[in-house]
Symmetry: C2
Subunit: 200 residues, 2 copies
């Protein structure tokens, strides 16, 4: 499609169509939208991309995405650092933050154990979690990995290595729909799952 | 949603969610995609936005979007400058270019007459078209506005002012589905409509 436009317009359409979930028609529509934006709005979008790419890194404590180290949650005095919720992904963390019912801190694994996809425990941030648990006094580890095969396997693995350390390890209740993706669960279900958590 | 992320990440999600057809979840997904891109890919996208915004302007002949003046089509020696197709939008031009069956040049109106939306003939590039027709020798004007109320009204208006000038004014055939949007019509239908054009 972009060859019809050519030049900067074609290049912009091509760049947009490389983004996930954006096809040729959507990319064309976005490019036309950009062309008709005031210059400062288009520059704002370009700058937001650059700033995010340059300044967003992993928190050295919880491995969540952040632009400050430690992240806002880890460095907050209002959060209970002795309750750590383990999630697969920053989006899952965001989903729990939206419920407003969890006042502990997080640990982001950046994935789940999946032999099918060649992801083992060493590809996740489990080593960082263990190091963290040696330094900090934790009362409870809540495992909130996704309620699917990989998430359950990861939960079992984490339970197996943390329980011998004398830690209380819990799993969010199966109020969350089995086979689903935590990111898309509604807030009430997420809250129920948090309330109904059980010892692993 | 963006307040959970905060900082550059929140800003990027916000910027993305302002784009047409991109909701909160898609914006979040795009932002995560950007964060995980290699730096040069993210910079490439930002640069494409800036370059398109800075360098894309209207062709002084046909009013299409271009980064060179006159545009590629107007300045091509392979195009028949005596046959001018009048379209509402650069996307309609692109749709006809994809058929590969039109070898004339274009005139982009940037809209259609629509009293409902307060768009009159003076809001379109009809004055530029008249000026162009005084300077150039045109054999035929093909009106390819959309086959809906606004497009038909615009076609009638153009016919009414050009025919007294002794010009041959044609309208693409109603092979194109009435009530639809030209941009989304398949290429065969667009070709049939071009073949079956009739005097206005």
């Amino acid at each position: 499609m972009q060859h019809i436009y050519g030049g900067p317009m074609g290049r912009l359409i091509e760049e947009f169509s490389r983004l996930p979930g954006i096809g040729g028609k959507s990319a064309q529509r976005l490019a036309f939208h950009i062309i008709h934006l005031p210059a400062e709005k288009a520059e704002g979008l370009a700058d937001a991309i650059l700033q995010a790419k340059r300044n967003v890194r992993y928190c050295s404590v919880c491995c969540n995405l952040t632009d400050q180290d430690a992240c806002q949650i880890c460095s907050s005095s209002k959060r209970d650092a002795s309750t750590i919720m383990v999630v697969e992904d920053p989006r899952d963390l965001a989903a729990y933050e939206r419920t407003g019912e969890f006042h502990g801190v997080y640990h982001v694994l950046h994935g789940a154990i999946s032999p099918m996809h060649g992801v083992g425990p060493n590809d996740l941030t489990i080593a960082q979690l263990l190091k963290r648990l040696q330094a900090e006094e934790a009362k409870e580890i809540i495992v909130a990995t996704n309620p699917n095969v990989e998430g359950e396997a990861t939960a079992l693995y984490i339970g197996k290595i943390l329980k011998p350390m004398g830690l209380k390890v819990t799993r969010i209740a199966h109020g969350v729909p089995v086979g689903g993706d935590l990111e898309f669960v509604d807030q009430v279900t997420l809250s129920r799952a948090l309330e109904g958590r059980r010892e692993l």
